[in-house]
Symmetry: C2
Subunit: 212 residues, 2 copies
């Protein structure tokens, strides 16, 4: 069960909360990027960032020059991953909603210095973005590795919220002659577009072609 | 031209930055939700939230009980909207990237108290989520309005970053026998799903059926 701390205990919409770690892993593992929140000079900064998960640790990366990651090493961060699955069209403005799955993780990010852990983390990060690519393309050089900052965030303090299904309207509104339901938002992979610089005769690899 | 302050001036990847307000408006107007960053007891908190734009003001809303919005009134916030358009598959792990359009807005959020501005803001918020719904469904009651907190954030301090196109590989990697290109991520509207409680004979309205 996920931990319960003041900041992960839902103040509102408790019925949408989940304390099942598998729900947390599902939200994280099906995402492509997160929003990393840090405090810089007292003000909040939220940047979209790549991530990967190994067990109960989330890894984030970026250039060693990125302000958000410089701020993040050793500091409190908040990582949020959100999937929007549909718009919930209710019979009143007030009851409009969104079907979503989101995870919010709080903690102190640790700058990863161990070479093996760094490499494993970068592999997880790359595979999160594009499964199968790590083994398919050129591996990182020592210089490239040195230019990449990797942060580790334990999944100790996390909250998960999920909303699914039809609108919930006020009792008296169900009689209104208004269509209500869910408009699903569907994200799919389009046709892979070859780099114009690609020589002829190189096929799209199966792990890209068949990506789900 | 968008303002240039220390926190909106890109330290890295300057070529991806845009100072054209129209790029900012495009990123905002085509988004469905944002990630709102606030500082709560010294730590960052990032929550997915609805928004709407009227001119040069961004409006956010939520329950009057939501911690993030309580914290946000008068305080420094950061609002980030991100669109991921595709995964950039390079010939090396290091040059993998993402095609995206993102906007980051910094500022002090003002709690909206003027009734007319509140109503206009809620209309903009609803129309952002589901264009055409405001006039189609039941309007908010006084009680519902009272239960909704609305924040206004000026679009004075914003940065926009856009990456498009093929991977940029190291010169020597172009000779590798590796497929490279962009895997587009396509978001579309699925078939509207009627609320099981919907009586027969109520058609899906055109503004939902034809949503792009």
């Amino acid at each position: 069960m996920l931990s319960s701390t003041p900041r992960t205990t839902l103040g509102r919409e408790k019925h949408r909360g989940s304390t099942d770690p598998n729900d947390l892993y599902e939200v994280l593992d099906t995402g492509l990027f997160c929003h990393l929140g840090v405090v810089v000079d007292g003000h909040p900064m939220v940047v979209p960032t790549g991530y990967g998960r190994i067990g109960e640790t989330l890894y984030l990366h970026g250039s060693t020059g990125a302000r958000s990651l410089r701020a993040g090493g050793g500091d409190e961060v908040c990582v949020t991953v959100t999937h929007v699955d549909g718009i919930v069209l209710a019979r009143s403005v007030f009851n409009h909603s969104v079907n979503y799955r989101s995870a919010i993780i709080y903690g102190r990010a640790r700058l990863v210095t161990d070479p093996d852990e760094r490499l494993a983390a970068l592999r997880a990060l790359t595979e999160q973005l594009a499964p199968g690519q790590w083994d398919y393309v050129r591996q990182p050089t020592r210089k490239e590795l040195a230019a990449t900052a990797v942060l580790a965030l334990p999944l100790d303090e996390a909250s998960v919220k999920i909303r699914r299904g039809a609108p919930i309207d006020d009792e008296e509104d169900y009689a209104l002659p208004v269509w209500a339901g869910v408009h699903p938002l569907v994200t799919t992979w389009g046709e892979p577009q070859a780099d114009p610089a690609l020589p002829e005769g190189i096929d799209i690899p199966v792990h890209i072609l068949r990506r789900e």
